[in-house]
Amino acid sequence: MKRSEVEFQYKRYSEQAILIQTLSKVDENLLETLLFYKKSIEKYYDKLIVEVILSYNSLLIYYVSTIEDVYGEILTLKSLFSDDGEIQVMKKRLWKVPVCYSNSLAPELSLFAAKKSMNIEEIISLHTAPVYTTHFIGFLPGFLYLDGLNEKLITPRKSTPSPKLKKGSVAIGGNQTGIYPCDSPGGWHVIGCTPLGFFDVNIEKPCFVSPGDKIKFVSIKENEYNDIRLSISKLDYTPKFDLI
């Protein structure tokens, strides 16, 4: 895709931050463009910025110190995206995330199925079929914003949130599906549970998934769920990925 197809707006966000935002449609092309732009900003500024925070349609550049010349800075940022070249799309990591959809771990699944007038097998097959795309991480430490939920599974959030969704809960809320990386209140419908952790505070890169990575849910039985949990507790488990 051509970089010039995306138009950006640049705004000062605070003394230390500039926001780059676009009104372009959120899709995989935009994600690739933002990841490309993010990389060139990080490369150019290096230690002068704390980090670039990505979301669906924006980049927030957070500087180490107060920005003295906002307009000069914006010109520099624009120049980092001035080329008309093609964006090289790298191979993607596809993470296989084991999910147990059994009643003991996801007691709400049968209710959810009834609500959707489907049987449990249909729900599982619709949820495990797509390759989801990770757009960014936010909301909770290690929470992935995934795109790709089958339309048939779209379900409004609960009007009253549950006080506690368990760590590892795989849930559906609106047109999104996600994994709760820690216990949290939430209004999403829990349909399964993964034994994997998505946030480890003891590692410098605390989440193994990066924006742009792909996710596929793989249905597992309860005994497999328990086996994987055991392996993880013995530090004897590494999440698996394919390059696609």
């Binding site: 605070s14 003394e15 704390v50 990505l54 979301s55 936010g138 909301f139 430490p141 929470f143």
Partner: protein, 283 residues
């Protein structure tokens, strides 16, 4: 040599904080850090500490602290009167501590967040390059009665006579300086006028994540795609109430970001009590 400080009573929302946890927003980790960074820097400056040293933060109700060995501490932030074993001390100055001393902070008259700095900083666990306590990151999300925090013993008091100019307490200001937020221009002229001329007051709903303001703004904006937010971002909620995001806020949010507080104003609003009113001034 390390020693320990014990909380004889917990106070309210007492936590260990430093300047914050930077570089992990991309993983969804809040920045955290002292609610009033100016008081935090002052607490360390008084002790001639490195500016990244961790301090103890409390809100409205101060803890009672017992020290197992000699050290030097400072008390900054919310206005109170420090007592060391019932002997009156001064805020914003070095307080020498001897083994077994008990520090009480009495008569909290102004502001919300108080800080106790200690020579060389509190030595609590460091995770993702910060000691700031936060629920999913550190093993404790706040300190309770009888909890202990490590510090380094100070043997030599010879540098303890420095004095430092301290500005008048900024928590009394009622003007909050702001930048226009990314969605400011989506407001109508009438809404902008309302936002910048009306007074808003601090509600009872406030914590380290956010301060909900009382006072309604007519709201015609809908929710938007989840987008980056920072401490100091003012969001307009569907009900028309304003939320000022604070240090422990999430990294992304879906409500229109209509204003952004300046660095200094975040410290000011942190110190405003429920019921106090503020007015926004756009820079």
């Amino acid at each position: 040599m390390m020693s320990k400080m014990t909380l004889l009573s917990s106070g309210m929302y007492t936590t260990i904080q430093d300047g914050g946890r930077f570089g992990y927003s991309k993983y969804g980790v809040p920045k955290s850090g002292a609610m009033d960074l100016q008081s935090y820097f002052l607490a360390n400056a008084i002790l001639d500490n490195d500016k990244k040293c961790a301090v103890l933060e409390w809100a409205m109700i101060p803890p009672i602290l017992e020290f197992e060995d000699d050290t030097v501490v400072s008390v900054t932030g919310a206005i109170c009167v420090p007592f060391l074993n019932e002997i009156k001390q001064k805020m914003n100055s070095q307080i020498q501590i001897r083994k077994g001393d008990v520090l009480r902070l009495k008569n909290v008259t102004n502001g919300v967040y108080g800080f106790v700095g200690i020579k060389f900083g509190f030595q609590s666990e460091m995770l993702l390059r910060s000691r700031s306590q936060y629920n999913e990151i550190t093993s404790l999300s706040s300190l309770r009665k009888n909890d202990q925090v490590s510090f380094k013993i100070v043997v030599d008091f010879s540098t303890s006579n420095a004095s430092l100019f301290t500005p008048p307490f900024w928590g009394k200001k009622d003007r909050i300086n702001v930048f226009e937020g990314p969605e400011f221009d989506m407001l109508t002229d009438h809404q902008k006028h309302q936002l910048l001329n009306a007074k808003f007051s601090i509600s009872n709903t406030r914590d380290r994540m956010a301060i909900l303001l009382d006072g309604l703004l007519e709201n015609t904006l809908s929710s938007m795609l989840s987008s980056p937010v920072l401490p100091g971002t003012v969001q307009l909620t569907p009900s028309g109430r304003l939320i000022v995001l604070m240090r422990d806020c999430q990294t992304t949010g879906g409500y229109p970001r209509i204003l952004q507080l300046t660095k200094e104003s975040i410290n000011v609003i942190a110190q405003k009590r429920s019921g106090e009113s503020i007015k926004f001034d756009v820079l």
